[in-house]
């Protein structure tokens, strides 16, 4: 991993909220870098500031002070619409609750980020289909979220995060609503995207098993970086899956 340029550079990042009159220091000066093509887990108990950090990394929120460079762009001073454009071009989001549009086909859900670009309808559809194939949902493009299982819904969400060819994918508790087998399937997809497509993965989780599939774990506590460790031997989700009793062989085959 060494020698690669950092896709995320954070320096002395501070975030304060005002709860009434009392200022709450959520992030108390954090500095770290994430290199291009890395697979990082961000861990910590609730209240540790990891959600706030995630919002800032995702350009949904701005830091109170300190600097944040994403792909070389200093995003701290950008306005609302400029941030929206950065999110559209550089970041893919995966949420715990999938956040798919109801009564909307899988393909159209995946197309959503492209709706806010100049991409033509035909190309939007083609790219959405490609992304669905990449997450093993070929042939399911016309299904609506209510017709899909939780794991399938999360795959649609991953396809959606892929479709605009982002620099990084931010996954906030992506397996929080899934059973352990499906969770490993999702991690297997992440590992493949990370290795084959070279997409930088950042996963927020409190589950050490999930974090074990990443290359680097960053632990937060009380708004400070507590521990930053590189895993000598990350887990192989694909292999772990093979060792589990084969419940849904057709899904396994597609991972």
């Amino acid at each position: 991993m060494s020698g690669m340029a950092a896709v995320i550079e954070i320096k002395d990042l501070v975030k304060d909220y005002k709860l009434g009159e009392v200022p709450v220091h959520v992030l108390k000066g954090i500095s770290f870098e994430i290199e291009r093509g890395d697979f990082v887990s961000i861990m910590g108990p609730s209240g540790s500031g990891k959600s706030t950090l995630m919002n800032i990394l995702g350009c949904l929120d701005r830091p109170t002070s300190g600097s944040y460079k994403l792909d070389g762009i200093s995003v701290g001073k950008l306005d609302r619409d400029e941030l929206a454009e950065i999110r559209n071009k550089k970041i893919g989001f995966v949420f715990q609750q999938f956040n798919l549009l109801a009564r909307t086909s899988a393909a159209e859900n995946v197309e959503l980020p492209l709706m806010y670009t100049d991409t033509r309808a035909r190309e939007r559809h083609e790219r959405a289909m490609k992304a669905l194939v990449a997450v093993g949902l070929a042939g399911q493009e016309d299904h609506q979220p209510s017709q899909l299982s939780g794991g399938q819904q999360q795959r649609v969400a991953i396809a959606r995060s892929l479709v605009n060819q982002p620099k990084i994918i931010l996954a906030d508790e992506p397996t929080g609503a899934l059973d352990s087998r499906t969770s490993i399937e999702i991690m297997a997809i992440f590992q493949r995207l990370n290795r084959e497509e070279g997409i930088t993965m950042i996963v927020v989780t409190h589950d050490p098993d999930i974090a074990s599939y990443s290359n680097r774990n960053i632990h937060f506590k009380d708004g400070r970086l507590q521990r930053d460790e590189r895993l000598a031997q990350p887990g192989e989700a694909r292999k772990d899956l093979e060792q589990l009793p084969a419940e849904q062989p057709e899904e396994l085959a597609s991972v």
Binding site: L60, A84, E85, R87, L101, P113, M115, Y116
Partner: protein
């Protein structure tokens, strides 16, 4: 364009999800637009009716009546004294440049007899200029000529009411009717004009050459054989009415030797002006009706705003997601505006159909003429779109400026 079509698709889908709600919201706009179209149609119908009536009297028409004179302190009523003559008519026609035609008339009630049927009507002694001035035309036959007037020919032109009562469906032209024991040959029948603005049947009339009327039917005035009942004067154009009025007044005062400071011995009435005032009041009524109907359109708009606010709240998470994947302020604003405008435009189109149907029903059952102009349909359409934009803007703006983090977290 690409994005607009996409927004419209999203809007239609969102509206389809809540069918009942969308339909009820649209109902407000449908009623509003239909009310505007029907009410403006009723108003326009009334205005058109008055315009028709004005047209039926004759265009640019001024009527000169003999006026009152006071004699030893006793003021006599209008028309009590003969002050207008055929010579006045000729003088006006010859000397007033703003006057295009003058028709002297005398009138009186007569009993017209044909075979064994008879009919009481008003006989008018006129000259052929009457036709031009009243914008009349012949349904059959010919009007009598100036030669007929000079020769005091026993020719008569019937109004449609008279013709129907005496002759039924058969053509009276060439037949002979008896008026005061004098036989008159019917030379033609006037095209019906219907009611006058004051409610009189303008077709219940028999027209005779003024000379014949005075000599044989109505009797000449003992004091002045050339006296006439009134003069119908046509100005050369609508703008020349005032000028014609002044010229005539000056000429008549001079001819009647009225000293400055004394009152006219004739009365001039600009009929067009009187009915133009009626027309204006009909237009005011139509604007008023439209305004009242517009209130219901505004109420419909408030309904849209209400439902859009509900929709924004319900779809907070969706908005947050759209923002997260790159929707800019303007994208969200457009999406919800398009949705509101789609609601109001769909309602507007249906409202136009309902409004057209309503005005046809009013015309049919209330016997009230209605006129729906393409302009009022277009206005209703544009207005309903504007209602959508106006009442959709606040909810759309609210959606566009949601905080993406809170929107995504919204339960």
């Amino acid at each position: 364009m690409n994005k607009l079509i996409a927004s419209m698709k999203i809007a239609l889908r969102a509206l389809k999800v809540n069918r009942t709600r969308s339909a009820l919201t649209m109902l407000g706009i449908i009623i509003g637009v239909a009310a505007v179209i029907a009410m403006v149609g009723v108003g326009a119908g009334a205005t058109a009716r008055i315009q028709d009536q004005i047209q039926s009297i004759g265009s640019n028409l001024i009527i000169v009546l003999p006026g009152s004179i006071s004699s030893n302190g006793v003021r006599l009523g209008s028309g009590a004294v003969v002050t207008l003559t055929e010579d006045d008519a000729k003088a006006i026609a010859a000397e007033c440049p703003s006057v295009s035609a003058v028709a002297p008339t005398v009138r009186g009630g007569v009993q017209v007899v044909y075979g064994n049927s008879n009919w009481a009507t008003s006989a008018q002694g006129v000259t052929p200029d009457y036709m031009t001035i009243r914008d009349s035309s012949m349904m059959s036959g010919q009007f009598f000529t100036a030669q007929d007037v000079d020769a005091a020919a026993k020719a008569a032109v019937l109004g449609e009411t008279v013709a129907r009562n005496l002759f039924g469906d058969s053509d009276p032209t060439g037949q002979v009717v008896i008026i005061k024991n004098v036989p008159f040959t019917v030379v033609g029948v006037l095209t019906p004009k219907g009611q006058s603005p004051t409610g009189q049947d303008q077709d219940d009339v028999i027209l005779l050459p003024i000379s014949t009327a005075k000599q044989k039917v109505l009797g000449a005035n003992k004091a002045n054989a050339k006296a006439v009942g009134s003069l119908m004067v046509q100005a050369i154009g609508p703008q020349a009415m005032d000028q014609a009025l002044q010229e005539m007044t000056a000429l008549l005062r001079e001819r009647h030797r009225i000293l400055p400071g004394l009152e006219d011995d004739f009365t001039v009435r600009n009929l067009t002006e009187v009915f133009a005032a009626q027309e204006t009041s009909a237009q005011v009524m139509s604007i008023l009706l439209g305004a009242i109907a517009s209130v219901s359109l505004i109420v419909g708009g408030i309904g849209i705003m209400n439902i859009m606010l509900v929709s924004v709240t319900e779809r907070t998470r969706e908005i947050g997601l759209r923002q997260a994947v790159g929707a800019k302020t303007r994208d969200i604003l457009t999406q919800f505006l398009v949705e509101a405008v789609t609601l109001s435009l769909l309602g507007g189109i249906m409202g136009i159909v309902v409004g057209l149907a309503a005005s046809l029903l009013i015309a049919h059952f209330a016997q009230w003429s209605t006129q729906v102009s393409p302009l009022s349909v277009l206005m209703a359409f544009v207005f309903s779109a504007l209602v959508g934009v106006f009442f959709g803007y606040y909810p759309a703006r609210k959606a566009a400026y949601l905080d993406p983090i809170e929107a995504l977290r919204y339960e």
